[in-house]
Symmetry: C2
Subunit: 333 residues, 2 copies
Amino acid sequence: MASTLEDVARAAGVSTATVSRVLNDPDKVAHATRARVSEAVEALGYTPNFGARMLASNRTNTVGAIIPSLSNAMFASGIQAFQEVLSEAGVNMLLGSTGYSDAEELRQIKTLLEHGAGGLLLIGTERPAETYAYMARRNVPFVVCWATSEQYLSVGFDNTRAAFEMTQAVLARGHRDIAMIAGPMVGNDRATDRVAGVRAAIAQVPDARLVHLVEQPYRLEHGADGFTAVMQADPPPTAIICGNDVLAAGALIQARRDGVSVPDQVSIVGFDDIGLASVSAPAITTVRVPQIEMGRQAASVLLAAIAGRDGVVSETLDTEVILRASLGDVPRK
Amino acid sequence: MASTLEDVARAAGVSTATVSRVLNDPDKVAHATRARVSEAVEALGYTPNFGARMLASNRTNTVGAIIPSLSNAMFASGIQAFQEVLSEAGVNMLLGSTGYSDAEELRQIKTLLEHGAGGLLLIGTERPAETYAYMARRNVPFVVCWATSEQYLSVGFDNTRAAFEMTQAVLARGHRDIAMIAGPMVGNDRATDRVAGVRAAIAQVPDARLVHLVEQPYRLEHGADGFTAVMQADPPPTAIICGNDVLAAGALIQARRDGVSVPDQVSIVGFDDIGLASVSAPAITTVRVPQIEMGRQAASVLLAAIAGRDGVVSETLDTEVILRASLGDVPRK
DNA sequence: CTGTTAGCGCATTCAT
DNA sequence: ATGAATGCGCTAACAG
């Protein structure tokens, strides 16, 4: 059995309060007794019981982060940066992943709150009202990332605008017949906004049009399927805009299988600038997302919100179109 | 403020004991009251206070998993499978990541244990004695994955053997001057074992030799650096074995930059078979690791260990060399 | 500076 | 089947 505060107190010949003090606020204790207590702590291999501590103090020094998927490199460095800032502040991070399921996200939220999370980082703004209602009832501070929000505290970027700019880059190379392989839009504002951005940019150019739009889960093989689907449009697209780099990479694979040359016959562009984008052949033109900065700022903002500081405000970060070989000029007929 | 058991009890017109029962042992409660209580729980958005529950019952239904890195797709699907099995058993998973740091791993272990993890999944067997000693003192069950162990409970595969087989595949194509871009070996048994496997296979073929070995962190750019380094060996290698697919992909990038044709001038092979391996050009010959099966079995084994069942035993799974275009015959001089 | 005391929210006897 | 009472290990007033 693990030893308790009382065991330590007895061993050191002091009260439990004193032991608690040397653990939490050593300056309040006389040098001599502090030494005696520390010795007893060592000797007994005492570890505080988190549950009891949480119960008594109502403080946990813990926040939760919930991401849709572990297999998408898109979130990794942002979360890592988030965690770094937190740990500098002496705050622990608990992580959960949902597999893009709303139900699982709510489950994870409950789990992390149960385990003492005093605040949450969530990805994207679109989720069931039930989820928001739950967090409101629990009165838990949260920050949404990888997107912007007018309603909730957010640290992210404007997906619509980023997709708009990417599409302009595509149009600038002369493409007019454009297809899109989007991510799953239901319950996913990032995917939805990116489609909206593409549409808006196309609408500004009179003879440009979206010849085909398909939705595909964020996996390589579905990017490949998407490529096959959109190439059957009439007329076929000369450029394919993908909802993220994984889809773009999948599309590239299928293009190679089909003997379709990229970018000579068709251009393919992605989103997120994960490592994959620079490795594929050809390298993928994409949108760079300020992941690390996003993670760092999310941490600051969330900590401030938890501390109840006012003047805590959402942040919108900039993205950048990264031009690589997968985007070329429109082929001449 | 979050609502408590007592709030729910009051709202439902019952005692706290009854509410506690419907939450933990519903069969012990009459149908009608159970319904009334559940309703009150819903209405108030009640979530149990984990600390209190842990304090009172000494049970947590929680396990922790700690992985070296979020940015490596290598762990994603295994962990997801792990989590699925757990959640079928009504057990929550808490996740932590360490950035390949021993100190951070110990910190995470402490954090997760404090937060109620009753068992742990860890990656690999090599870590400071201090870490093992800590877990022993806390008497916490754990299972190590992605490796095998004679000392600890493990569910994984034999990295040495897998690397051995891969190297045999390389030797079979006539390569004799072989280089290796290994992962960081300090504190990383997977990396160390893979090097050992390569060495062992090379030792079996008289005129084969390891012309150069470098260690690099698992990132694309370091794979590129590694390529540059090993190509300066005299004689230069005709095949480069990489510690994982990320390093291999990085090496491919540099090869392309340098105008070195793969596999015509030099072959490059990786390890893990992450998505990247099939996307790069050329596709990367690699070792497929049974991630999902590993995750599932790890969960079963860990749950059994936590339950104190005996006959809990380590599992070793098979790997498979996946031949792709990046491995070719040795070039003729 | 240190001890005493009173809960924190819950599971769990023991009654009824 | 349900309620009342107890204590888990700790922190936080409050005294001294």
